[in-house]
Symmetry: C2
Subunit: 381 residues, 2 copies
């Protein structure tokens, strides 16, 4: 909680506008985070993962600080250009692209594309000739609070063929990317993926193709309930792993922080709508229903993956275990049940709670009008 | 697939407007479904679950056919009134309501409210005096493809106290509701819940309080890949269970179909963005990426719960197992992986597929702008 957010919320209450849940994002925190990454990884370019929070104010700030951008779609490319980034600072980082979207991106000046198969390489060769491509490889996501599925990337042994195919089609086989899993709390996890990347560099060098870049992906955590290592520790561990696997011929590197850049800059204020019991048999277990849930901002509570810190005015007072659920008429809209959440006994219907670490992956995940509830209101300050 | 939907999609293609996924809903199918419910349960009032698809055209059609409406929020109440329903045909069916929303609903003329605890009864007594309330009870959801969580309802033994409390506070203790689970394919599942409801009627009668209504909830299935029993079979099974537990003093009854009313009226047209392999080790398994996924319409594929029929032009040709995923840069946006989906070998990048049974729980679940992708485009014809 920053002073600026606190003042903003107090003013909103005084004005009587605190009528529904809202997210407040403090740009000062994002500025600090950007500088933290730049200091921890001084030779690495930062490509902010726009999907984490594409608010124009966030993009403009980062553009002005010199950040590059990892985008998932043509609309994200357009938003990023509108915020002042030049096309040479934008990567089309989604491995799943319609050919006409690749063409449109090329028209907009984009020359850097992610791929993970020959089929995608062929699209790019047809409509974005001469562009740089990097191939995403699958890697072990253990140690991440949110290990990724196998949706993106190919087996490392396939990547050589994919990049060679790109080279043959006149594209620039530029490098390798991977993602060690979202909210990765173990800085050593980059090591294994960097070993695979170095192997691919060598294999291609033997075929006369010189790769230049390793995209270290995202995965940098934000603090939720548990402490996470400082970004400096990630920088050190990554530098050690790079030196170990690439020796003194270090490649260009980029990172794609999303959560790590904006997560701790945001705070949601929500309201307790109902506190009740389901049955006498459940003892002291209470159900606490908030006016925010899985469908209007907190989608990342799916499978109880992300456990947000929830602050109340009564913090410090005795607690009881609570199931926490959202306001919708949808049975899956339960935030924490498998592992109930301790909240103060004195918590009352109608009081406000603060949900920390909600600057990333909340606003645009919000449903358009699920159950009639409006999308999450957002203020960037 | 109806002829009207087929013609609409053909026309859209001819006009070159088939640029992204879209849902087409055929009102004729909804009209038939409404009549089917009315015939199968002639003494039961239909309260359409607005959340399933709140398109104004859908609400207007149902209002004109005489339907009542189950709403989840004040915006849904306002949408329903705007579509021509009178307040006496609207239930505020969400058990989780802000007191100021109850007050606003009362102002709009709503006099029928769901509750599942004394705390909610007290809100209603304060700001919606004299209204009718029904208490939702928990019941066994076995047999449902989507069993509900314990989010809504209280243990049947608590319901008596909740309704007695309502009576004491000057509200009309009106009845009992339950939900046997979404996409419930066993018509006999209403029996157990109706036994609990009859017990509550008796307990309250002994205390001098006469309940009048049983809300049989939703759960009526729509056809996805497997056939489901006809609505007539539900009508028969429910009538038998009502007679068994209530004898010749049958209560008023209402049903709240959502999926069963609009599910089969809608069809999504989507496009194959990419087909690839992850590794040689996976044999013939392919990954098929569509331009629609969990975040722009198909949220109900969560945990692979709803398995939509996917039609392609090559249906009937030899198939291979496929993992199906959405277009976003989000690792959880995978539709079917645990149990891969058989799709024709000849399926190609760029071809269209049709996803059936998508009239319910698609449009408003769609995210506002996740990964820059727009919400699901919808046409009501």
């Amino acid at each position: 909680m920053t002073d600026r957010i606190q003042e903003f919320l107090a003013e909103r209450r005084r004005a009587g506008r605190d009528n529904g849940p809202c997210l407040v994002v403090d740009l000062d925190v994002i500025r600090e985070n950007y500088r933290g990454f730049a200091r921890a990884l001084p030779d690495t370019r930062v490509f902010y993962a726009v999907k984490a929070n594409p608010a124009p104010e966030v993009l403009s700030l980062l553009a002005s600080l010199g950040s590059c951008f990892d985008t998932a779609s043509v609309p994200e490319i357009e938003q990023t250009l509108a915020a002042g980034a030049t096309p040479d600072r934008i990567s089309f980082g989604n491995t799943i692209k319609k050919e006409r979207d690749v063409a449109r991106a090329y028209e907009l000046g984009i020359r850097l594309f992610a791929v993970d198969c020959v089929e995608e390489v062929e699209k790019i060769a047809r409509v974005a000739p001469g562009s740089k491509v990097f191939c995403r490889i699958l890697c072990d996501g253990s140690g991440a609070e949110w290990p990724l599925s196998r949706k993106f990337g190919c087996a490392p042994e396939m990547a050589t063929g994919v990049l060679e195919h790109a080279h043959r089609l006149g594209l620039q086989a530029y490098g390798v990317s991977f993602h060690v899993g979202s909210q990765q709390t173990d800085p050593r996890k980059w090591d294994g993926a960097l070993k695979s990347a170095a192997d691919i560099f060598r294999d291609l060098a033997e075929r006369g193709i010189t790769l230049q870049m390793v995209n270290l992906g995202g995965g940098f955590p934000t603090k939720y309930l548990k402490n996470v290592p400082a970004v400096k520790q990630y920088g050190n561990a990554i530098f050690r792993a790079l030196s170990k696997h690439f020796g003194n011929r270090l490649p260009e590197t980029i990172i794609e922080p999303g959560r790590g850049m904006v997560g701790n800059a945001g705070m949601i204020e929500a309201e307790v709508v109902l506190i009740s019991k389901k049955s006498e048999a459940e003892g002291e277990l209470r159900w606490v229903y908030l006016d925010i849930g899985k469908f209007n901002g907190l989608a990342e509570t799916i499978d109880e993956m992300i456990r947000y810190p929830i602050r109340t005015e009564a913090d410090g007072a005795p607690t009881t275990p609570c199931v926490i659920a959202g306001p919708s008429c949808d049975s899956v809209d339960v935030l924490y049940e498998k592992k109930p959440y301790e909240l103060p006994i004195s918590l009352e219907i109608g009081t406000k709670v603060l949900i920390e670490g909600t600057g990333a992956y909340t606003t645009t995940y919000s449903a358009v009008g699920f159950n009639g509830f409006p999308p999450l209101e957002t203020f960037i300050i």
